[in-house]
Every structure is written in structure tokens, then in C-alpha cells.
Symmetry: C2
Subunit: 409 residues, 2 copies
Amino acid sequence: MNFFYDLDYEEGEVNALFKKIKSEYESEKVGYYHLLDSDISVAEINSYLPQAKWVRTIVVMGIGGSSLGTKAIHELLYSSNISNKSIRFLESVGPNAIKQVLTGIDFDETIFLIISKSGSTIETISNFKYVLEKFNVDFSKLKFNKHFVFITDKDSKLDKFAKSRELKTFYIPKNVGGRFSVLSSVGLLPLAILGYDIKELLNGAKLLRDRFFSFGYDNLIKKALYISENSKNNPINVLFSYSSSFKNFNEWYVQLWGESLGKIDIDNKRVGLTPIGLVGSIDQHSFLQLLTQGPHDKSVTFIKVNDFQNDIKIPEQSIEFLEDCDYVNGYSFNHLINAQCDATMQSVIKSGISVDLIEVDDFSEKSVGFLIFYYELLTSLTALALDIDAYNQPGVESGKIILKKKFRD
Amino acid sequence: MNFFYDLDYEEGEVNALFKKIKSEYESEKVGYYHLLDSDISVAEINSYLPQAKWVRTIVVMGIGGSSLGTKAIHELLYSSNISNKSIRFLESVGPNAIKQVLTGIDFDETIFLIISKSGSTIETISNFKYVLEKFNVDFSKLKFNKHFVFITDKDSKLDKFAKSRELKTFYIPKNVGGRFSVLSSVGLLPLAILGYDIKELLNGAKLLRDRFFSFGYDNLIKKALYISENSKNNPINVLFSYSSSFKNFNEWYVQLWGESLGKIDIDNKRVGLTPIGLVGSIDQHSFLQLLTQGPHDKSVTFIKVNDFQNDIKIPEQSIEFLEDCDYVNGYSFNHLINAQCDATMQSVIKSGISVDLIEVDDFSEKSVGFLIFYYELLTSLTALALDIDAYNQPGVESGKIILKKKFRD
């Protein structure tokens, strides 16, 4: 991590926040910290995998925390994936989206993972009904069973249904919220079926966690302090990721950050930090102008990947009249994209904006696990610094009640 | 349009802004208003189309304003597309993205549209070189010519190159900026090859333009006044579109809004409105919490589509233990998604946020043209109300200079 702003916090303040998170870590209240230890879930998934050898297509049916993390990790690791399996995500209840996702599905080769922490997410259950109808599923016939696997809270209504039909279920620990659940079976199961090394994913996260809680990790604490103390004048936190493979990671970040840190605090005041995800260099052509000349209401974190494994080169070719563009000839595309990251970063710093940089070693399970946990930890730290509860979402209930009324009246 | 906030502006203020935009419309300075009249571009495209009958795959090579609008319109109209042609977008210089876009391309059936207003966009030209090398293109052999078409400013370096090789070029009028160019050949050519009715697209836009400039369209002016006058306390403008088909439209909006309205004003002050695009109902599960309980720094525009043409139904099926979710049974998915829009809107209004609603009739060329022009016009109006230039982007130049230095030093 490189910081291009002042992180001059006193030891007392740093230690106080560290103490807070350490006690949260050691409590039973927040479960995501401990997903990394439970070899149980890895063992359970590994013992299930042989039963899924026939699978060619995975359809994840889930929304929000049930899909965003898996999408993010799959996209980041995609170029290294050598399996012959593919994955689709049925999240929306839009008819066009539903039809598009299900087009060309060969039921015999498809597994549907129905993921809902509460067990009664209206979008997921409605889509589940549609799939049951479309493929004439009849759970009284045994042959259908292997095509449906459920991931939910133990004893949820979905779990009760699955149990009653003897369908396979994986559980999400009760103290792990949806947006912090990617390293539970929610993400691990589909990723393992796709052939990724989930043990390494957890190891990457564990590396950071154990380093942090054993030795402290000053910079992360100071970053959280900076973000929270500047939440009034920098209420927008931009994540500018330099690789198109981060599109879904950005969306995962947006949920994690927005839903965790937009809260009414103990003094009944509205607090919150607004996340924005950008992809470089593409979004230099859409958002950079606002960053450099718009109001100073944002901080920006750049992500750069130092992975030149699958790299390709810009040909040593000069096109007549376009010699102005020859300065990148012979360099690799990754070199260009990272140079664009550096150049943009410098110009954003110059315009007076608080910037920091995360450098990722490569697109490997270990690096991705580390990065996922980095953001989860930063979210928890920032919430503690802001004195809000990162793990609830009381603000979404009212819409659900209104929705039901619209149908029942 | 429905507004759930007070639009109580005096006639004088409304008229003053109308006068400003009318004079901009009548000047030669801003060209996008007049794209709708130039039957020339439609005629030119139509006369070219027979030469593109062999095309099965279109690869748009362009970034920012050269691709976002086409992507947006194609996604919105996709469900009505019955052509056997497909389109891909090569925007990024990330090696993974480049390889993914070009995987499986059959050169003989592919047309590459190289789109760059300036003619020397480093990403586009570098990708162009890569494509030339990958497919062993040699412009001295005539057979390659039909595979490459250029869209750029007249007399740009790219135009000069194309002319020197007798390659087909379409022009972007000089007074039409990239992010306002979707209704020029930039968007019209690929969309026409795909089989969309570009005349109807322009007609939809024209309908709004002519209504606005002939009779005035109070609400749009008042909305711009509201947004600009609240730019300090509501600096974030959220577009919450209820259909997954709006994902790319949201990105187009983000560029249009962010790049046009983030500026240093005549008093040397930084002004700017930050755009955020959300898709319903998915983002209820990621962003709604922040909207309802976070700080009051946002206004929200909802988009709802009243198109039930391609609709499908939620089966009349009750799943044991999940009877709680039966209240939507028998309704169409579109009904559900629109009810979710209404319910979310109500809960957001209740939390004290300024909300308005755009209802779109259907996913047709005409409706989409109308909506595109609606946002262009709103952007122009808001810039005039803020006293800034919507059409330049001086803030992105510094990064470009730094980039060149990084390679040349």
C-alpha cells in the first residue's frame, strides 16, 4: 500500500481502534473473521465435489451478497481457469434477463445453486419457481435431486423445504452476513466446482488476518481513521481498478461499502460513505474529468496488478499519419495499462485529491483472497471508527413491507 | 415524468434558462441538437448497408463516447433484435479483455469499426495495431479493405490514414463531442448494421427536441434548475433503472453527466455533480441501505418500463415452507419488477430524499431515442444553469501528457 496523503495519527488513536476490532474479532458476534479457520466447510465441499463431476454448467440463483462475491472472484481468476465448466448468474427478475440466462441451458448437465441467507428472498424464490416449471422438475422423482443444491441459514424456510425433499444443503453461519459471506460456502461451493483452489483463497485471506491480529497492521488502521475522519468532506470513496477483470469486484465493493457504512448512528444521525467503482483505463474516458476538476468530495484508491503472465505486446508497427501513437510500440499491454494507472494517479494527486494505491501481485487465488479480506477488514475498521454497526441493514425493510402490501391489497 | 419534490420556480427563471438553451441550440457551437435533422447521415449509412450484408460480427473498437452509447442502445433493444449479427466491443487495453473479445472471431465474417473522434486515442490505435497483426492484414491487398471502417473527425490523422489506403470513413461533425455523439454515425452505423431502425431512433429524439424548442417543456427546465440549485447539498445524482437492460445505459449516463458537469466554473470554483447508476431490483440488495439511512447528499431518478410484450409469469406454485413468497404467484415478472420500483421509490421518498420518476413506454427505437435525448438535453440545461461548459474536458489532458512522458523518458 502506498499513501499519498498524510497518515499522521497518534499511537493512542491507532491502538484504540485496534483494541475495538480485536474484541469484535474475538467475540462470537461477527463470524466472517472465522470462516478462514473452518476447515469444516472446505472438507464438506471437497467431499461433495466428486458428486458434481457431471456438471458442465452452474447456475447461481441468488442476488446481492449471494452472487456478487462469486462473480468478482471468478472474473478475477478467469484467465487462469482451465476447467470445461461455465457459470451463469440468475439474479434479476427482469423477463429479458431471465430468458437470456436460461437460453441454451442443457438441464442434464446443469446444477442450480439456490442461495438465500434468509431463505425467502422474493427474487430468488420466484426465479426458483420459474426454473422448476420450465424444466418440469418433480422432486418426487429422484433423478432431479442432484440438479439442485441450496445454500442458506440452518433452519431457514428454504432449509426446511430442502430437508423435506432430501435435497443437499450447505449452510451459512448465522453470524455471517450476506455481504461478508463470499468466503463461506456461498462463494466456495461454486468456485470449487469451477475448479478454483478454495484452500488457497482462504490462505490468502488468512495471511492478512493473522498478520493483522498478531502484529497489527498500522496502515490499514490509519486508512480507516482517515476515511472516517474525512467522511464529511470526502463522503465519496472511489475505487479505480486498472483491469477490466475488476468490474465485478467493484460491484462487490460497492455493496460491501455502501450497505455496511450507510447507517443511522448511535446519536440518530445519518452517516455514510458512498462507494463508486471505476475501471481503468476505460473510465478515464468517462469519470476522470469530474475527479480532476469537480468538487473535492472524493478520495480515490487505485488498484494495479503486477501480473505479466498472460501478457501480449503492442506490435512494433508504425501506421502512417499515426506516428504520434508509436511511443507505446513494443511495450506490453499490461505495461501500458499500468503506466496509465500511474499517470492518472499523478494527475489526480496533482488536483488535490487524497489517493492511495493497492498493488496486487497477480491474479491468483491467494492474492484475491488477500484482497477480499483487505476490503472486509477495512469496512469493519471504518464502521468501528464511525461508531456504526457494519453488519445490519435496517433501511431495506420498509421497502419490503410496502411491496407485500402492493400485492395483498 | 413525475416529481416528488417541489418544482416551484418562477416563470422568469424558467424563461431565462429556456432563452439560454435556445440560443445555444440556434448557434453553430453545439452540434448534437442538429444530428437529428441531417438525413444525410442516415442516407449515407443506408447507401452503405448493402455493402455490409456479408457481416456476421461487428467489432466496435473505441472507448468512452465511441462505445458507451452504442452499447446502451443495443442492450435496451436487444430483446427485439432478430438479426443474425452479433456485436462485440474492444474498449480496454487489458490483455485478458483483448483476448476474450477476439476469441472465436472469424475474420472473414467480421467488420471492425475503428472509432475515435480525435483520431489518435492511444487505446484504440494500439488495439488497431494488434488486430492488424493478429489477422495479418495487408492493406495493399484489396480483400482486406471491406473489413475496416473508420469513424472520426474529418481530416484527423486517422482520416488521413484511411484516405491514403482508400478505406471507408464516416465522419463525426466537428461540433459534436464524443459523449454527445451516439446519434451520429458513431452509434447509427453499428446499430444500422445490426438491423435496428435508426430513423425511428432519431424520430424519438426529434419528438422531444421539437416539442421542447417549440413549446418549451417546463418540467425539464425546472428539473435542471432544481438539480443545479441543489448541487451543494445533493451533489450525487442517482439513476435507478428498473431493468437489467439498463446496465449500459447507466454507464452512458455516468459519462455524459460526470464529464459534462464536473468543471471549474467561470469564478475558478470547482463544481460538479457525481452520477451513480443502479439497476433494480438487484441494487436494492447493495445500495438501498445507504440511500435510505445514509446522508442526504443524493437525489434519485427512477426509470420504469411499461413494456409487457416479452413478459413471462411467476408460476402459480406454492413451495412447502415458502408460502410467504406466494403473494406474487401468477403475476408477471415485469409486474413484480415494477412493483419493486414503486415500493422502493416510496421508501426512498419516505426517508426524505428528492425523487423523480421517468416512465418509458417500451423498449423500442423511438422510446430509446427519446430517452437518450432527454438526458442530453437535461445535461445541457444543467450545465447552463451552473454556468459551466458542458462540452469540453480540460481535466483529462494532464494525465495524457504524464503518460507520454513515462514512455519517452
